[in-house]
């Protein structure tokens, strides 16, 4: 099997990349999706709030996904469902498998990686206690509840105040469960303020910041959860234990880009993002392999995933049409004080169209601060921010002429 472009993953990133590469002239495109339908995690995110940037209206996850799925079929782009990509290599060969074709080798001219991310688990933060039924990742519970129609519990404690945790607090409440508390390790919430108001405050669900789960009780099914205040070194403070009698613990403790395939192909990775190192066009360290969406870095707003993926799709089409990137001058980006990471990590300045978009997350909450962009130590751009938070990805667009040609390093810091 041969394709110009193979897109691995049919969620919002893969769909946008595939459609955009078609619009930019790529002929044969294949989207490979492991689930039984396209749309990815959006299909279980039935709440609204998606699409404000891309469609200028407020949509639910499935509505947002359906617009792209419809467009994909209007563009006659091939896709395979229920199909697993087992391996990709630097020569852009893909080993995939399903029940109909069996195991197949596919040769692509370009690959777009859009596998998304997975949830961190109980194990990744080593929560002590018993290991009974009733401990769920919030996203798994969301799938059971919203797509399959099952309740995962009746009295619920939620660890993690990221958006999935907050959204699930409301969903479980609407479906008749009692959510007792949302506990958060950090001294601030990782979720959007509107979600704290509309998902917690509306239903009088308390949020306890700087708290960890330090015990899970119950041998068969969860019978209780103990949370405890933690100090600045994340150590539990003795005497602050609160035990909740409950049957369920939902975990919303972070997302990790899913890059086993990328690593297998030998793509250079960034330990800060847990995603591939990418250039301005979203090309990875292997020429012709692009990556976009949550597989590169975890986004909080799907609209930004779409924009990034369109960018990657366009670049993949260009690559297939043999418009090669100009490798002559490579600028590295670096996250300085207050910044967790920057994507892209590398910029081929001659290949930037008119402006360069930098995406980043801050490490902590700031008020009335400034994001300062420096080229080899000299400030070339800055933007005032009344509010910065780790839960909200920041984007800075810089005009190409501001950067100049002979720059070695672009840095961003919070001032």
């Amino acid at each position: 099997m041969n394709y110009d472009i193979v897109v691995v993953g049919g969620g919002p990133a893969g769909l946008a990349a595939a459609i955009e590469s078609r619009k930019n002239g790529a002929e044969s495109i294949l989207v490979i999706e492991r689930d039984r339908e396209l749309g990815g995690i959006l299909q279980q995110c039935i709440h609204n709030g998606f699409g404000l940037v891309v469609f200028k209206e407020e949509l639910t996850g499935p509505e947002y996904a359906e617009r792209f799925i419809d467009e994909l079929s209007r563009e006659n782009i091939d896709y395979k469902l229920d199909t697993m990509v087992l391996e990709i290599n630097k020569d852009k060969q893909i080993l995939a498998m399903n029940t109909v074709d069996g195991l197949v080798n596919i040769q692509a001219k370009a690959i777009v990686l859009s596998m998304g991310c997975r949830e961190r688990t109980r194990g990744s933060i080593a929560i002590p206690g018993y290991r009974p039924a009733g401990v769920f990742n919030a996203g798994t519970a969301q799938r059971y509840l919203n797509m399959e129609g099952y309740m995962v519990g009746k009295r619920v404690v939620i660890l993690g105040s990221g958006d999935i945790g907050l959204i699930m607090a409301r969903r479980m409440t609407l479906e008749g469960a009692k959510v007792l508390v949302v506990a958060e390790l950090m001294p601030f919430s990782g979720g959007l303020t509107r979600n704290i108001v509309q998902c917690l405050d509306d239903y009088d669900i308390p949020l306890k910041l700087s708290h960890a789960v330090t015990d899970i009780k119950g041998r068969d099914r969860v019978e209780g959860v103990v949370i405890q205040k933690i100090d600045e070194n994340f150590k539990p403070i003795p005497g602050t234990e609160i035990e909740y009698e409950c049957d369920t613990l939902l975990l919303s403790v972070g997302l990790i880009p899913e890059n086993e395939l990328s690593k297998g192909a030998g793509i250079e990775m960034d330990s800060k993002t847990s995603g591939p190192v990418v250039f301005e066009s979203m090309e990875t360290s292997i020429e012709g392999i692009f990556a976009c969406g949550n597989v590169v870095h975890v986004h909080d707003i799907v609209d930004f995933v779409t924009e990034e993926s369109r960018h990657a799709g366009k670049a993949a089409a260009k690559f297939v049409l043999e418009v090669k990137a100009d490798n002559n001058k490579i600028i590295e980006t670096e996250a300085l004080s207050g910044i967790g990471y920057i994507v892209p990590q590398k910029v081929r300045i001659n290949s930037v169209d008119d402006k360069l978009s930098l995406f980043m997350r801050v490490r902590s909450v700031y008020h009335d601060a400034k994001l300062s962009v420096k080229a080899d130590g000299k400030e070339i751009y800055s933007v005032k921010k009344m509010h910065l938070a780790p839960g909200e990805m920041e984007r800075i667009d810089i005009k190409k002429e501001l950067i100049g040609e002979n720059v070695g390093k672009l840095t961003v810091e919070v001032i």
């Binding site: 069996g102 206690g129 009974p132 099952y150 899970i216």
Partner: protein
């Protein structure tokens, strides 16, 4: 009426069942939990010890040496992965070094093959990630790693295929002595058997008390562990122990047969009424990290995928207790199976058969005993052609359910329908590993439940995680199906 009732379907009980199934004996295995291999067998260091550790004149010493020797044959018959990766006991002081010499001497008396005391240069060459300060080590090339629950499951499956019976959810509540037999009762059921083999792990003393005044006590000695992602694989290549102390062999670091890294255990004696306390605790997990620093200071805990605790069946008699009760004829204790219980299992099984032979006279050997367990297909390990051939025969092998461990629907369905098959989410996890990987069932959990519900013809809400009461879904939303 059965000839033999074995109480406890851990690795000891199932090994004995399989050994006895070579003879014309009507055997039943009684298990209190909802699956075999659910007690100490599912939560330990998963090591087949070389056998230099226990005193040469003890039962433990003899059983371990013999168990290790024949483990290879057993595992190949039962199609259970087993690898002799070798072990190192490292010395960090002169007194440690003296201990090593003692272990070496003891091992030589037990004829443990290939034992060698090696210098620091050789140690660091074999294991470059150890914390500095090692002065030497005892190297035992015959030590190995295995999946303990898979060994027990395989033993049980093979025993059943050779005529043994298994009753799960049979928690023994009462044993009545009758003339020449025992009546064994659970809440809902009862069986009668001529002989009882008490392989009830941490509960062995309690079971024994139902027929006699137990001469021994079994103390639940808890150990806690970290299991790291395969990405940490290669941190160590051998089983690496510190020098042993009075609480056991110490906190070790080892590869697992599946390529993960296991760190633990600590040792904590619990109260006698805490025989279900397999919970981990914040302080003790921290303690394991401290202790493991004696082995390596490069352990990447950020790659942790799960923590767990297991209970060792620590007898107050120190040695294994394998004998017919003097108070109750035909009641055979196989108790106190702390480490090296797993390593000794095949030898213990042989030994128990000789005890029964002694009581019962010569045993009648089956002519049609099949020592081989039907091969378990591990899809990921097949060649390209083999995979496609299999998918053509059964398309369910073309559908990956667990993306972390690359487990197909075909493998899961097979695990459900084998003898002693998996009927629960954790049961399937133990048999084919979906949910054992880095996402810990986040993605595949709902799919595995769907397959279990379909294959067992039960509603999704009745699919259990482990024991009765471990329901996963508490009901449906809305009206309708």
């Amino acid at each position: 009426m059965y000839n033999v009732a074995i109480i406890g379907a851990g690795v000891i009980g199932t090994a004995i069942a399989r050994e006895l199934s070579k003879f014309n004996h009507k055997i039943v295995i009684l298990e209190k939990d909802n699956d075999v291999s659910n007690g100490s067998t599912k939560a330990n260091s998963a090591i087949i010890h070389a056998g230099y550790d226990a005193p040469y004149n003890s039962l433990k010493g003899k059983m371990n040496a013999r168990g290790n020797l024949i483990m290879g044959i057993v595992c190949s018959e039962l199609n259970v992965p087993f690898e002799r990766i070798g072990s190192l006991v490292i010395a960090r002081s002169e007194s440690d070094f003296e201990t090593l010499k003692g272990l070496y001497e003891n091992g030589m008396k037990l004829e443990i093959p290939g034992l060698e005391i090696i210098d620091v240069g050789k140690v660091m060459e074999m294991e470059p990630n150890l914390t500095e300060g090692v002065i030497g080590a005892l190297y035992a090339p015959s030590a190995g790693i295995v999946e303990p629950w898979e060994l027990a499951i395989a033993y049980c499956e093979n025993a059943i295929d050779n005529g043994a019976e298994l009753r799960i959810n049979f928690a023994v509540r009462e044993i009545q002595k009758k003339d020449g037999s025992y009546l064994i009762k659970s809440e809902e059921d009862q069986v009668e058997a001529k002989y009882i083999i008490n392989a009830a792990g941490v509960y062995a003393d309690k079971i024994y008390n139902m027929v006699a005044d137990s001469e021994y006590k079994i103390i639940p000695r808890r150990g806690q562990y970290f299991l790291l992602d395969k990405e940490a694989g290669g941190l160590v290549k051998h089983v690496v122990f510190p020098c042993p102390n009075e609480m056991g062999k110490g906190t070790l670091v080892t590869p697992t047969i599946d390529g993960n890294i296991l760190v633990g255990p600590d040792a904590e004696d619990l109260d006698m009424d805490m025989k279900e306390s397999v919970n981990t605790t914040y302080n003790r997990l921290g303690n394991v990290k401290n202790l493991a620093r004696n082995i390596s200071d490069k352990i990447p805990y950020k790659l942790n995928i799960t923590t767990f605790a297991g209970l060792r069946a620590e007898p107050d008699t120190d040695d294994f207790i394998i004998e017919e009760s003097k108070q109750a004829k035909g009641f055979i204790n196989v108790a106190g199976m702390k480490s090296p219980g797993l390593s000794s299992a095949p030898a213990i099984a042989e030994y128990v058969v000789t005890i029964i032979e002694e009581i019962d006279g010569s045993l009648d050997k089956k002519t049609d005993f099949n020592p081989l367990r039907r091969k378990r297909i591990k899809f990921e390990e097949l060649t390209f052609e083999e995979k496609n051939e299999l998918i053509q025969k059964d398309s369910r092998y073309g559908r990956i359910i667990c993306r972390c461990e690359m487990i197909t629907e075909g493998e899961i369905v097979d695990a459900i329908h084998r003898s002693a098959g998996g009927r629960t989410v954790n049961g399937i996890k133990r048999r084919t590993r979906p949910g054992s990987g880095r996402c810990q069932g986040g993605f595949c959990g709902p799919r595995v439940m769907e397959i279990l519900a379909r294959e067992l013809s039960v509603p999704m809400e009745e699919v259990l995680m482990e024991n009765r009461g471990s329901i996963i879904l508490t009901g449906k939303t809305k009206v309708g199906g």
